[in-house]
C-alpha cells in the first residue's frame, strides 16, 4: 500500500515537473524565434522548437493518462519562458545559443536523475515512461551540443550568463515538483 502510494507520488511529481519544463522550453524557443527568425540561426532554432513541441504534446497526453496534476505556476512559466528566450536572443544569436546550452544542460541532468529514481522504484512498471524520458533526454542533450556548435561560448559574459540561467532553471524545477 505504502509502496504503491510512493510510486504514484513519484510519477505524479515527475510528470508535473517535466510538463512544466517542456512548456517552458517550448516558450523559450518561441521567444528566440520571435527575435532571430530571419537570421542565419533561424532554421536551427526552428528545428529544435519542433522537437520541443512534440515533447510538450507527449506530456500533455501523459498528464491526462496518469491523472497527474499540472503545476500551479504554469502561467508564470509561460511568460518567464518567452521572456528568457526573447531576452537572451536580444544579446545576439550567441546569447540565444548560450541560453540553450545552459537550459538543456540542466534539463539533461534532471532527466537523468529522474531515470535513476524510476529505475530504483520499479523499472518494469515504469517501462513506458522510462522510454519516453530517455528519448527526450537524448534530444535535449543534442540541443545542448547544437548550441555549442553555434558559438554559444562567444556570447557576452558566457560564464556568468549560463550560471544565472542554470540556477534559475534549477529553482524552477524544484518548485514545480512541489506545487
Amino acid at each position: 500500500m505504502a509502496r504503491q502510494k510512493r510510486s504514484r507520488e513519484l510519477v505524479d511529481k515527475i510528470i508535473r515537473v517535466d510538463h512544466a519544463g517542456e512548456l517552458g522550453a517550448d516558450r523559450i524557443y518561441q521567444g528566440q524565434l520571435a527575435i532571430l527568425g530571419n537570421t542565419s540561426v533561424g532554421p536551427v532554432i526552428k528545428e529544435m522548437w519542433e522537437d520541443e513541441k512534440i515533447h510538450l504534446e507527449t506530456f500533455n497526453k501523459l498528464i491526462v493518462q496518469h491523472r497527474a496534476r499540472p503545476t500551479v505556476l504554469l502561467p508564470l512559466w509561460n511568460i518567464a519562458g518567452f521572456a528568457l528566450g526573447a531576452g537572451t536572443a536580444l544579446l545576439g544569436k550567441e546569447g540565444a545559443m548560450a541560453c540553450t546550452v545552459a537550459v538543456e544542460a540542466v534539463i539533461g541532468d534532471h532527466y537523468n536523475s529522474q531515470i535513476r529514481d524510476l529505475m530504483e522504484d520499479d523499472p518494469e512498471k515504469h517501462e513506458e515512461l522510462l522510454k519516453i524520458i530517455k528519448k527526450f533526454r537524448d534530444d535535449e542533450l543534442h540541443h545542448h551540443d547544437t548550441g555549442l556548435e553555434h558559438d554559444a561560448e562567444k556570447a557576452p559574459f558566457y560564464k556568468a550568463l549560463t550560471q544565472v540561467i542554470k540556477v534559475g532553471c534549477k529553482g524552477a524545477v524544484w518548485i514545480s515538483e512541489k506545487i
Binding site: M1, A2, H19, V64, R67, P70, V72, L74, P75
Partner: protein, 238 residues
C-alpha cells in the same frame, strides 16, 4: 463560553493521546494471533484492515451517538474487540467522518466507471456532472440528521487539510470521468468552481425540508447553470 468548550476538547484529546499507545498495542496483539502465518508480510496492512473493520461497524451507531468516539466504541464492541479500541483512532470522530467520505467517493467512482467505460455513447458532460454530484450528495441523506456535526468536524483546523484533500479528490474524480483533458490552469479553475458548487449545495441541503430534496437538486441545477454562464461570458470578453 467559548473558552470553556475549547478547554474540555483539549483535555479530552490529551486523555485520548495518553491512552493511545497502550490501546493500539492491545488491539493489534489481539488481531495478530489470527494470522500469524503471514505476520511477516504486513503488520501495517492488518492494522489498516482492523481499523477499517471497526469503522465500518461503527457507521450504524452514528444515528445514535453521532460522529464520536462513542460510536467507534460501539462499533468495536460489535466486532468483538474491546471497546477501548477507539484508542486506535487518535482523532476520534474525525476518522469516522473521513472513512465515510472516502467510502462514498469510492462508490461514486464505481458508478461513474460503469457509466463511462465500454459504452457506445458517452454521456453529455453537463448532465454527467450534475448526476454525479447529485448521486454523491444522495449518499449523505441516510446520515442527514448528524451530517452538520460531520461538516463541523471537517472544518476544524486539525482536520482541514484532509478535508480539502478529500474534496479535491472527489472533484478530480468527477472531472476525470467527465472526460476532462485540460493540462493548463483550467485544470484548477474547473475543480475549484465545481468544489464551490458542491459545497454550497451541501450546505443548502442541510436545511432543505422538501420531498426527496427536490429543492436541493433545483438549487444545484441553478448553480451549474451559473457556471456555464460565467464560462460563456469570460470567453466572449477575452
Amino acid at each position: 463560553m467559548k473558552h470553556y468548550v475549547s478547554i474540555t476538547v483539549l483535555q479530552e484529546k490529551l486523555y485520548i493521546n495518553g491512552q493511545n499507545i497502550r490501546l493500539t498495542q492491545i488491539v493489534s496483539r489481539n488481531c495478530s494471533t489470527s494470522d500469524q502465518s503471514n505476520s511477516e508480510t504486513s503488520t501495517e496492512d492488518t492494522e489498516y484492515e482492523t481499523k477499517e473493520r471497526i469503522l465500518r461497524a461503527s457507521l450504524p451507531f452514528v444515528y445514535q451517538h453521532g460522529w464520536t468516539n462513542k460510536a467507534i466504541t460501539s462499533g468495536a464492541e460489535k466486532e468483538g474487540l474491546p471497546g477501548v479500541a477507539h484508542g486506535m483512532f487518535p482523532r476520534g470522530g474525525a476518522e469516522l467522518v473521513f472513512f465515510f467520505y472516502g467510502e462514498c467517493n469510492q462508490q461514486l467512482v464505481k458508478q461513474m466507471k460503469i457509466q463511462t467505460e465500454n459504452v457506445e455513447e458517452k454521456p453529455k458532460t453537463g448532465e454527467f456532472i450534475k448526476n454525479s454530484v447529485e448521486s454523491r450528495l444522495r449518499m449523505i441523506i441516510p446520515y442527514m440528521e448528524k451530517w452538520p456535526q460531520a461538516m463541523a468536524i471537517q472544518t476544524m483546523p486539525q482536520n482541514a487539510v484532509e478535508s480539502w484533500t478529500n474534496l479535491g479528490r472527489l472533484m478530480d474524480d468527477i472531472w476525470f470521468y467527465a472526460g476532462d483533458q485540460s493540462v493548463d490552469f483550467n485544470w484548477y479553475t474547473k475543480r475549484a468552481s465545481l468544489a464551490g458548487v458542491y459545497k454550497s449545495t451541501e450546505i443548502y441541503m442541510l436545511q432543505d425540508k422538501s420531498d426527496n430534496y427536490d429543492n436541493t437538486w433545483q438549487f444545484l441545477e441553478r448553480r451549474l447553470q451559473d457556471l456555464t454562464t460565467i464560462g460563456k461570458v469570460t470567453r466572449n470578453v477575452s
